[in-house]
């Protein structure tokens, strides 16, 4: 009897308890239903997280309109989106569950007569509509992009792969944020060892918060000390679908449109989903342009420094004469000029990202005229440097994956320093170091530099060239994925 009394007081206090647990939030709503003067049902939810229409029409209406026979439950537990707790359970646990559920967009329904609490999912998170991803726009191909809502994203992937083997493994990571993560893979295509590895790394994450997929990326990448990304992120569902069909694993994080993909190899950063939406010859040509741009972006400033300050004999005589005429009267050494202009360029770029769009025009004028032309005319820098910086700046954006472009920038600066100190020898040492690093790097057990080394012959069909579809393997998994599956 004492127990019952206690429960009664708890029941009366339930709303107050939750209110204090959440710290009196302004969007907490409690609605009570009185049938025949007696409080039968109390419904608690966070107004900002739920779809009120659902609550009104499907839950509360059923209490007010229907006349229940005694003992019949207005809601049945089988409906799936409902979890039921009894007040006879330990109260602390009950409250914790309820709070968590409320934060996830459930509503808590206390049924006084039957002494239980139902948690019903009525989530409707505020989200924007599906738009074209700004950072990865294409000419041809789908223009849909992921949104911040993970369910929408799941739908976008499902729409493309209608296959029962498509798996979504759910986990919650982040002690404070409790973010939902989905590990997506094709059970019949992805190698088991890979799936196990990704799952292992994900569940080993110990962190307070996950607000973006980059949080996860830093935890599960193979090596911290590397400028190269071993995972890629994309906002394009078609890219994710293509990679899933290649046997890879995607990680979706709730609250961000960026989906992680693993494993990634070096050469895959040069291919983009658009390659497959175009004729093979054009795609091959563009792929070569990307490779050339990579080398240009990384090496041109350093080669310029090396050639003009150490190995002038490399420059054809006529060019050397005009370059040295340009340098006449320039006060700084060439390496300093290059570093200065590169830094200035990076600043302009960073400013361009943050600045209100209306100021953009002004900035480009300042950048182009003041920093380019005026600096040359004032004799601060030589004209050739402006060309060098412009070329590297433009080629930097050619690589389809933004994070890979970032690593190019880092490399560029270190190569410029090396070239400034040791000329070509410095660049050579840097390049050897880079190759040594690249060949030893691994992405989830896959050597980063495959298929170049270790070489996988069949994969060459889709690296430096993109062969026409009919010539590619019809169920073409990448060679390293096949190897992983075989090893199992």
């Amino acid at each position: 009897m004492a127990r019952k009394k206690q429960n009664q007081s708890i029941k009366n206090d339930f709303f107050g308890d939750i209110q204090s647990a959440l710290g009196l939030p302004p969007d907490l709503v409690c609605r009570s239903l009185f049938v025949q003067g007696e409080q039968t049902v109390q419904c608690v939810y966070l107004e900002s997280m739920v779809n009120k229409k659902t609550i009104d029409e499907y839950i509360l209406k059923s209490f007010t309109e229907n006349t229940f026979s005694e003992g019949e439950a207005p809601l049945s537990a089988e409906s799936g989106f409902l979890r039921e707790f009894s007040f006879s359970d330990p109260y602390e646990q009950l409250r914790e569950h309820a709070v968590k559920a409320l934060l996830a967009g459930h509503c808590a329904l206390t049924d006084f007569s039957r002494e239980r609490v139902c948690l019903i999912n009525v989530t409707e998170s505020k989200q924007r509509s599906i738009e074209e991803p700004k950072s990865e726009s294409t000419i041809r191909g789908p223009h849909e992009g992921f949104t911040e809502s993970i369910l929408t994203n799941v739908g976008l992937v499902r729409k493309r792969i209608r296959n029962p083997f498509l798996r979504f493994d759910k986990m919650n990571i982040g002690n404070q944020t409790g973010t939902t993560l989905l590990m997506v893979y094709m059970e019949n295509l992805a190698p088991e060892s890979l799936v196990r590895e990704v799952r292992g790394r994900l569940s080993a994450i110990r962190t307070d918060s996950v607000l973006e997929s980059a949080y996860v990326e830093e935890f599960i990448q193979d090596r911290i000390w590397s400028p190269f990304p071993t995972l890629t992120n994309t906002e394009r569902p078609d890219m994710v679908a293509a990679q899933l069909l290649d046997g890879k694993v995607a990680v979706m994080v709730d609250g961000t449109p960026n989906v992680l993909l693993a494993p990634m190899t070096f050469f895959e950063f040069f291919s983009s989903p658009e390659d497959y939406y175009q004729r093979a010859d054009i795609a091959t040509f563009i792929r070569w342009i990307r490779l050339i741009s990579f080398f240009t972006a990384v090496f041109v400033p350093s080669l310029y420094v090396a050639a003009t300050t150490f190995h002038q004999e490399l420059i054809p005589p006529q060019l050397l004469i005009s370059l040295s005429a340009q340098r006449e009267g320039v006060p700084f050494p060439a390496i300093f000029e290059v570093l200065l202009m590169e830094v200035v360029f990076e600043i302009i770029r960073e400013a361009g990202l943050r600045m209100p769009r209306a100021v953009g025009q002004a900035l480009s004028i300042v950048g182009a005229i003041v920093l380019g032309q005026a600096a040359v005319e004032a004799g601060l820098i030589s004209a050739a440097i402006v060309i060098v910086v412009a070329i590297t700046g433009i080629t930097n954006f050619v690589v389809p994956v933004y994070s890979f472009g970032m690593s190019q920038r880092l490399l560029r600066f270190s190569f410029v320093l090396l070239a400034g100190f040791m000329g070509l020898f410095g660049i050579l040492c840097g390049a050897l170091f880079l190759v040594a690093h690249l060949v030893s790097l691994k992405s989830f057990g896959v050597p980063y530099f495959t298929p170049a080394s270790p070489s996988i012959g069949t994969d060459w069909k889709d690296v430096l060239v993109r062969l026409p579809r009919p010539w590619l393997d019809p169920n073409g998994l990448p060679g390293y994925i096949r190897n992983m599956k075989r090893k199992r």
């Binding site: 004999e313 054809p316 040791m422 020898f425 040492c429 050897l432 170091f433 060949v439 030893s440």
Partner: protein, 363 residues
């Protein structure tokens, strides 16, 4: 699982190791020795190299899965074996010092006359040790990635030089003193007998190292022979024998139109990378010897120590190239023979004695 390198990778490694410093240290000297028939020398020296290689392989058959430094440990016991391994370690160090010194001499003599030698040494050593620290696979893969960038530009550049070709320079063929050619024994020592450093990798090659090693020796000899052939045809015996770096000069003199002038930097980059690969194998040999004999827990202090040791060795290994040349002509063969022929031979004898003894015991 042991890190493994594939057969093809080992094959490429063998070639690049042999070509390593040879391409620019030895070409001039070989031409001095044999005149217009110098291109024959790598062929017979290569066949000698293959014989020596077969000899090692014969020894390794008795100790499957064991490396060069583990064999003495097993055959002669811990103390004597350790001593021999340390000898090998020092041998690798001295070879590496030599390679580094050749590198800095080359750079000082051609493109960077004023930079101190130590800078070159330390830079290359840092990169080499970084690679070694990444493991055996990294060495094989690095070499595999780089080889096409060596092979194609090298022959392409030499082909560009063909504008200066003259068959007359190679005549009369087969007319030099063949006896003198055969007597030039230091060519056997360097580079062929130095390939013993590659045997450290023998147990790590998938499906056996025998064939790639011998094929690599053959290919490298053929490439050397081809290069000599072209150098003589392009420069002539008179100049090739007097210049310090004939390959470099050949390319330096290419001028096709206004654009393709002074492309010798390409050849210097190729030569530098070849030297790097040779250095890499030697450094790997030295550090691996230490690891296999003393089994340290952390390896970076060794790398650091070796960097300092090797850069000092390189600086003091000879005072001037004249000393180096004299050493090379008089003592290289004997010096190398001690490590390459004598010790393996003694090991083989011990093994035979042990085996027969055990058989008798067992029987």
């Amino acid at each position: 699982m042991k890190p493994m390198i594939s057969r093809f990778q080992f094959y490429l490694l063998t070639i690049n190791y042999i070509l390593g410093t040879t391409l620019f240290v030895l070409i001039g000297r070989l031409v001095v020795q044999a005149g217009q028939d110098a291109w024959l020398m790598p062929l017979w020296a290569g066949s000698f190299g293959i014989l020596v290689g077969l000899f090692w392989i014969f020894l390794f058959r008795y100790y499957p899965g064991k490396s060069l430094v583990q064999i003495p440990l097993e055959a002669w016991g811990r103390s004597l074996g350790t001593l021999v391994s340390v000898l090998y370690f020092l041998y690798f160090c001295i070879l590496a010092g030599w390679v580094l010194r050749n590198l800095s001499d080359f750079l000082n003599g051609t493109i960077m006359p004023e930079t101190p030698k130590t800078v070159f040494h330390v830079m290359f050593l840092l990169v080499a040790f970084y690679t070694v620290a990444q493991g055996t696979e990294a060495i094989g893969r690095l070499n595999q990635i780089i080889t096409p960038f060596l092979f194609f530009p090298f022959w392409f550049v030499l082909l560009l030089a063909m504008v200066n070709w003259d068959w007359g320079r190679l005549q009369p063929a087969f007319h030099s003193d063949l006896g003198a050619i055969l007597q030039y024994h230091s060519f056997l020592g360097f580079p062929y007998m130095e390939t013993i450093a590659l045997t450290i990798l023998f147990p790590l090659v998938k499906q056996g190292a025998t064939r790639p090693f011998l094929l690599g020796l053959m290919t490298a000899s053929l490439s050397l022979s081809m290069t000599l052939f072209m150098i003589i045809g392009l420069l002539g015996v008179e100049r090739a024998s007097q210049l310090t770096f004939p390959v470099y000069t050949t390319v330096q003199e290419i001028s096709i139109g206004e654009v393709i002038v002074n492309i010798h930097s390409i050849i210097s980059v190729i030569l530098l990378i070849l030297i790097f690969i040779k250095l890499l194998v030697l450094v790997y040999g030295a550090s691996e010897t230490l690891r296999q004999v003393f089994r340290p827990k952390t390896r970076w202090p060794h790398f650091l120590g070796l960097t300092i040791l090797l850069s000092a060795t390189a600086l003091s290994i000879y005072e001037n190239p004249i000393q180096n040349e004299e050493w090379d002509e008089k003592y290289t063969f004997i010096y190398d023979s001690f490590f390459v022929l004598l010790i393996p031979f003694l090991l083989l004898v011990t093994t035979w004695v042990k085996r027969t003894f055990e058989k008798r015991k067992g029987g």
